[in-house]
């Protein structure tokens, strides 16, 4: 009962509307708790997914709320992989400045924090750079050494 899930996958499809963000963060938190990650790590994953979905709504779909966003959670013995798929404009990483927090702070820029947060909160973040009709952002959190339940208990567990 108290045992974490070792393998499994969940799929969700939501409209590209920021009103669903809270539901998605809750779902992500539940899914990662189920996977046995420490609470703090689960909070971080929930925020990373919020940022990724917000970016898809804002930038890929230009705030049009009638498109679809698919979110997949795949759990393996090694990691929880979260992929966010959409049919809009894919992020062009080459065009996005490399996140440089010191400069960010020095320049007091207003946006540009989302990608930085995703990269800091997750162990690995990748965008597909193909030209297919469906685009994908994949994020991974490894069970070890970053989030192994038991191995490295976090405060607030």
């Amino acid at each position: 009962m108290g045992k974490a899930i070792e393998q499994g996958s969940i799929e969700v499809v939501i409209p590209s509307d920021t009103r669903y963000l809270h539901m998605v963060t809750n779902l992500t938190r539940s899914a990662s708790l189920l996977a046995g990650f420490p609470k703090k790590t689960c909070e971080q994953m929930a925020l990373a997914v919020d940022e990724a979905v917000t970016n898809v709504i804002r930038h890929s779909y230009d705030n049009q709320s009638w498109h679809e966003i698919q979110i997949g959670f795949t759990l393996t013995a090694e990691a929880l992989k979260i992929d966010i798929r959409h049919g809009g404009v894919q992020v062009d990483l080459a065009a996005v400045e490399k996140p440089d927090l010191e400069r960010y702070i020095a320049e007091r820029r207003r946006g540009g924090l989302g990608l930085t947060l995703m990269q800091k909160l997750m162990d690995r973040v990748e965008f597909d750079q193909t030209n297919s009709l469906e685009h994908e952002c994949c994020m991974w959190k490894y069970r070890t050494p970053h989030g192994s339940p038991g191995a490295k208990p976090q405060p607030g567990d």
């Binding site: 963000l21 809270h22 539901m23 702070i105």
Partner: protein, 118 residues
Amino acid sequence: MADLHVDLKTEGEVILVYPRGFINAHTVRSFEQILQEQVERKSYRIVINCADLRYISSAGLGALMGVIDEVRENQGDIKLSNMSENIFNIFDILGFTHLYKIFKEEAEALGSFSEAEE
């Protein structure tokens, strides 16, 4: 609904802002507006008490960044207090703990304004 309500209080020359609930890209507008309004009415001494703030995404941090320059150019500041561990972690991860003064209690944040005056 997972929403945000922002309450305001005036304490001498300081505006106390109480965001209650969740700040994400959906709810951020009201938080942003309240901050903008303070700047417009030249209230540059702001304490944000985060006791009832349960969640903040980069949208909320962007709202802070949107006013901090004007606030400081006018000898004011935005100070934060009563952060939960989760909220503090997000500020910390982004290095925002160096950019904003964060206090444990509201009273300390308030007090820091009068000290600055002396």
